[in-house]
Symmetry: C2
Subunit: 236 residues, 2 copies
């Protein structure tokens, strides 16, 4: 029995995305019947709405895992994960610019690679979604004492520290719960004309025997693809 | 903060339905590009998968309402609601036969019309889904002392009393929670070769000033349509 942050809100999101999808079907049917074109763009819209639902499902699963399973901290190479994510995101979200910044020596934290990937994917997707017209997204990893700071900052209009007015829901909650579960925290901030900034503070650890970073863009149901697809600009 | 019965399971359902939908998109794209036919059938499959998600959202909202809002019992004309639902369902699920059975005089219970509609819609949809190849569904309303029994029985392979092995999830939970919240209970039973049988036991009340029964089939986002669409046999 895992709690859901707000199941009424979750239901409203699912309804909205599915209503968007169903609203596109008549145009797709007209195109399929040989009517005037636009079939491809309509099907892109259908795919985008479906991916919004898939992202909700991905976050719901991560949230359930964070609420029910006890944390099982393992060494995670955060810089390798960030590098894989930034490169994957740059391939899908071509109108966005990603600026990675971390030291040459790998940085490791205690955590869970799969769930940290979900948390980072949400921060990246939010930055793409709420960044400026041409999102410029900085991804930084740095050591601060015994803490690893993993920061995603964008060039959008920023947000209040609560981030509540920025439309962020389950995704940010996943990032927050991840940080708490693994002995860290999520910091949110923004400055006028400097966009929003979210930092995961994670407990540093010495290099460990982490599994190699999976190819997060290898298939269309991978966590990163699912999180970026609703906000990316490629045909899906 | 409404609890979700099982958010990991809910996430799995959402993923499965959306993956089904996305798997149909390449065929829809081929058809849209003037490839070999099948566009209509593909789009029917997409609509069906989308309606499965919409049904999940509908049940999630009803579940959240039942978990968070205190019950506010009002007189509900159960036979009028059942009549509207049976007639609506018969119009959509044409391969199923619905056999209504209730006394001529209307029967009223204390409850919430909107949420009782959600509970009944789930029982009907489950009967269509798990009934025999040509579902024969009996819908009965009868007085038993101070209780109103609203029973939906099908001609499927039946189920264990827990109904757990019949694939029923959130829908049955909505019916069960509705019954409990409004002073009744949900009984489940089955007999070999006689199919499954679910009875909502509701507190009878004298005729009241209930609002007229809405037209549950009037639009494609109405609760009954949403619940039946995933299991109905009409093009959507």
């Amino acid at each position: 029995m895992a709690p859901t942050p707000n199941s009424a809100l979750l239901a409203a999101h699912l309804r909205e995305d599915t209503a968007d999808l169903l609203a596109l079907l008549p145009a797709a049917r007209r195109a399929a019947a040989g009517g005037p074109g636009g079939g491809e763009a309509t099907l892109d819209g259908i795919a985008r709405a479906a991916y919004r639902t898939l992202r909700t499902a991905e976050n719901l699963a991560a949230h359930a895992a964070l609420c029910t399973a006890p944390p099982h901290p393992q060494p995670v190479c955060v810089t390798a994960l960030a590098a894989a994510y930034v490169s994957g995101a740059a391939g899908v979200c071509r109108s966005a610019v990603f600026v990675p910044e971390w030291p040459r020596a790998p940085l490791w934290a205690m955590g869970d690679a799969r769930l940290l990937a979900a948390a980072l994917g949400n921060l990246l997707a939010n930055a793409v979604q709420y960044g400026g017209e041409r999102p410029a997204i900085s991804v930084r990893a740095a050591r601060r004492g015994e803490t690893l700071l993993l920061t995603v900052a964008d060039n959008g209009p920023g947000c209040a520290p609560s981030a509540g007015d920025r439309g962020l829901g389950l995704g940010l909650e996943v990032a927050r719960r991840y940080a708490r579960a693994y002995g860290g925290r999520l910091l949110a901030g923004s400055a006028p004309e400097r966009g929003a900034c979210f930092s995961l503070c994670l407990p540093l650890c010495p290099p460990g025997a982490a599994p190699s970073v999976p190819d997060y863009m290898a298939d269309r149901f991978s966590p990163l693809y699912v999180q970026l697809a609703p906000v990316c600009d490629l045909p899906l």
